[in-house]
Symmetry: D2
Subunit: 381 residues, 4 copies
């Protein structure tokens, strides 16, 4: 049976443009039950040479230099937004109004107000929407969700997560511009809070429910950096590091931290959940493993299990799609999984998560965190 | 600039058919400097329904049910052989005589005699050829090769490797047939020796040079299994486990083991090399890491380093093609790398390894191992 | 040359009584350069049978049932205080006034006010004093101190520590009494803050300098427990969990957490320090290892080193006293080291740390933490 | 109740003299149920100054310079033999004839013939005897024995062990003399086979039963070293490395290796046992942990458990004697355990293992290994 086309229009072609595109190109090879096949219809960017080079490499059928033109094209079904954060809202709202499905890179927006308008737009238009919080779809993380939902952990006492990097320690690194907009609050909205903590928060809300209140601390270690666009030393406006404590609605305590100054860590997103009956741990540097401690094991033989999540028997989420036990998958597969689930939701007319509204809750937590850091007291979410 | 087509004809569509096909489909997305693009021209298999389903899923342009017909097609540039081991020689020799390039699944052949005829055929025909000993192209393993070639390890004393699995412990597992031909010596030639140890030997020869002599031990733990084709209990003809000791030409000692009865290990291929100045360790269950001990580190601070091989700066082999530091790749990438290097060797008219002749040396070691196990004494390779 | 006696009078004979006594008995076997030998003169406790049994097992020469009598004995040189926290001040001040040296179990006191009086007493009396923050003397932790002092880490950005246990999850566990006074605020002063975080804080102050301000969160998960002394369900008065964020004087950020509800962790005290040039990690569950990341290592070969701190060459602190490389020591050795350093300070008339004044600073941080948790805002230390 | 004295006479005061003495001094503090207390009656050695210094440090009551005089003393109950291997037989036989209990350092003897005479002597005299294969009494290893005896592993397929060191790589290290007799075959009998593999073999025989036949390989990497006693370069007579394969009586396969040329490993004794139902792994560098894989765990949640063997509840062998969960013990504790079990066997008139006869079996395997390495074929044990 022939697959129906799902015509993709990609806005932005940076790092995330690559990961999403790879997801579109691979999904049907590994998820043969899907009824749609993504078609790389067009990629849009401001630099004609660069966008053409990207289109050539990844085999997009056409290019655009204006996202409004892209949205206007009737042959586009879905808009994928991979631009800097400060343009998400405008593009998304226009796409919704044009009746396009939307796959938006995280964080959703610069702030909750923008996010609320985006939610209103997609909900009013009734278009399918999702936000690329891809780490939910690491098989080990999805399995964690299953274990929690099955009640294996019992009452939860603690949730802790951090996201540690070290790539901005060098003081000579400039800020801003196409490559480094993540270091410029005007483009990014915030620093590690929106870039890294947002991932941790999305996973936490999914696994452990809503957050009630937070108290936070931020720091900017390097106060001035040369700005790529002005060529001058300018004040650094983002948070280099952010930590916060919180109460979850379920009564558990949360501890979150992220930084780009943790020498030795490249993308160490770790999470741990301690329940009455069992605990789990996971980290992105060995993403194919889940650590699990089950208090119901025989006393003398209790220990943290290192579970190699690579079983194709169907018991471990997504792994029946890939290879055989012992053979690991990697980072990029999370995007393939998200594409697969997005298409499946279209095929079957079911709900897709995280959608814009889910991502708005993360945005609200981020906002409370940044607010709390400013005023030094607890803030309700 | 348009890429030149490299028209692929695949024979066999099992597990290896998937890994190779994925390599062909992804290579140009990540290796844009290549001048050829693999085209999935045809896949060949005996079951019309299954081969068509495979072609549909993976987007092969056509199907064949007779490999001779496939080889006869003028629109095929390269034959990829993924069939059981007992058909490699016949297909490869015919393909060579037809002037096709050949990418042959490992092990090369049932025995050195077959292998020698295959080498002669490709060398006489002057066709490009390679054997899918893919683990050479795990970035961590390739980096190990670099370190050794640079002399970082100094004189080598010890090489040890094992490949441990546990999937045949169940006595009720049958042998033979399409799914389980690896358990039938008639189709596979041998058991773990050709299936698993051959990988260990290929890497060892590459990293540590030739093997002089071996002494080996094999065992078949389950003596009889139902045969899928006859429906009857029949004698198990393969080796379930095989271990051997050896001397390398460079004076180092080797210790190798493989089994399918090591409860708890799925595909645990590990290797360790101890040199005068440094040592390295690697294992397939965390293939994105290389462990490294450098004796020139300051005394009190010496320790095994766990190197996360995910740096896109170009210093770690292949990793400039993928994502950013901290984000791991997986098993399937080794095949993408092998396709990339194969195409590069065609583009630039350079040597490709491992070729048939390299794989023949591995076959000769396997033969000496099996011989030694039979007679109980040391055998020269 | 005969060793001079150092006559010990021990008050309390619980878990800490055992660890200290073991330290006294073993120190001269392993530190032959010391000029004093501890003599187990007397142990003091309220239960005559239990204290006699302890004296018999550990070979104390005599017993006392009243600590005032013990302090009054002219044949006692040093008082070791191992009683619940609410008696530290009274005993220590009396011992100081009697001119005895004092080795006091941590935390120093119930609160800073008590601690200040204790400091005044020992300083006025001019008696040698120390507090058993034993984890400073894990060789790996001492080596961390050396590395920091040598400047190997460069400017510090982050300090994080936690101390995770799971032994109070069971709701049926009672509180109070001889065995469980740590669960009763009247005897212990606080819960995990004084019991566990105090260790983390002591190490942090030593390694990373003073703390400026803190913001904290505490929780009591099980609200009522049967009290051993009253036999009735009573309100639980201690903190079951406590986390805090802080600024160090050196500009680095701190994140601390401790709990007795982290299923799967028995005594997981971990610390990590991220500096501009290098980072270190350590955890108590594998206390003989130090993890070290050195950014000056060659790029492609950078990785966390797992240093097995067992080298008897003299390069790793304390390890020249023990066995040979590869053979680990354990928990109890930290107390032997503290006794050795205490005696050495007496032999050579040098300063001993941590002394009461050092421990008072830890107490002040604990107080600020508990205060902040109560009021929900930042508190200066 | 007063403890009965067990008067110890120690012959030799090197590294093993220290470990045994520490065992004698500590045992009653931690095993209060024992009815004997070791008394350090005398230590014997050829150098009067050194033996006196050792006696002073460790508090031996007296010294002897002639082991025959020591054995002749009526106030000595037990002779502990810590001398080089070539004197074990003569001392042990004389001690047995004098009716002394004997605790002999491993390996038992230079060869099985000597060992057989030693067994005959102690059995004729009816004296208590043990050999210091201390690793049986690592709690994790003892627990492994329990699990196997309970049938948790099911039928055993594989046993593998190695003991890797790197301290003799330096070519300038001399051989022979008091410090380096282990490098001189005349004093040691063999190299790594008797020193390191003997430990692996003892544990294997205990855990997995008798070995039927072996095939082995040895190597001497550095052919000549300066001899401490002659001051001249002399041929190195020991084996620097030794590996062997074997069949156990129970049908499982064994693979053993040891070397002093494995750069990066200090005393890495590892063992792994794969059974039908479960597998275990252990290594000496983290001796307080046992890894355990249980195939009866739920499929998706199967993983190797890292068991921290530190539970004082009585479920983990020996650990009720020490501290609390999470607090590890170390290398030296194995000797304390062996002393405790030796005394317990005297107290209760029960069998003690490993005794001389157990150690003789290990000696016989070593002999078969060395023989096989010489002739290049399989040898029956």
């Amino acid at each position: 049976m022939a697959l129906k086309p799902l015509n993709i229009g990609l806005v932005g072609y940076g790092f995330m443009g690559r990961t999403h595109t790879n997801g579109y190109k691979r999904v049907n090879d590994f998820f043969p039950e899907l009824k749609h096949r993504p078609v790389l219809k067009a990629v849009c960017g401001r630099s004609p040479e660069k966008v053409q080079a990207f289109a050539d490499q990844w085999q997009y059928e056409s290019v655009e230099s204006d996202w409004k033109a892209l949205i206007a094209r009737p042959d586009i079904d879905a808009i994928d937004i991979c631009t800097p954060n400060n343009s998400h809202a405008e593009i998304a709202i226009a796409a919704a109004e044009a009746g396009k499905m939307i796959l938006c890179e995280k964080p959703l927006a610069l702030n909750p107000e923008e996010g609320e308008r985006m939610c209103a737009a997609v909900e009013k238009a009734g278009v399918a929407n999702t936000v690329w919080y891809n780490y939910r779809r690491v098989p080990a993380v999805t399995m964690a969700k299953q274990l929690i939902d099955e009640g294996k952990l019992g009452k939860i006492y603690h949730y802790r997560a951090n996201f540690l990097q070290d790539w901005t320690i060098n003081e000579d690194l400039p800020q801003g511009g196409e490559a480094l907009w993540r270091l410029d609050a005007a483009a990014a909205g915030s620093g590690v809070t929106g870039d890294l903590l947002a991932h941790c928060i999305d996973t936490a809300l999914w696994l452990n429910g809503s957050i009630k209140d937070v108290t936070a601390m931020t720091e900017t270690f390097v106060k001035e950096r040369m700005h790529t666009e002005t060529g001058k030393k300018e004040k650094v406006t983002i948070d280099d590091a952010c930590a916060f404590m919180c109460h979850f609605e379920n009564g558990s305590l949360g501890l979150f931290e992220s930084t780009r100054y943790a020498r030795g860590h490249k993308a160490l997103y770790t999470l741990e959940i301690n329940g009455h009956d069992a605990s789990i741990r996971w980290d992105l540097h060995d993403l194919h493993r889940l650590e699990y401690f089950d208090n119901s094991d025989e006393g003398r033989l209790r220990g943290w299990r290192s579970i190699h999540v690579s079983d194709h028997s169907g018991d471990q989420p997504y792994m029946d799609k890939w290879w055989v036990p012992g053979l690991q998958i990697g980072y990029e597969h999370t995007f393939v999984h998200q594409v697969a689930d997005f298409i499946s939701s279209i095929d079957n007319n079911t709900a897709m998560h995280p959608n814009f509204r889910d991502a708005l809750e993360t945005q609200q937590v981020c906002e409370a965190v940044l607010e709390s850091a400013k005023v030094g007291t607890w803030k309700n979410v």
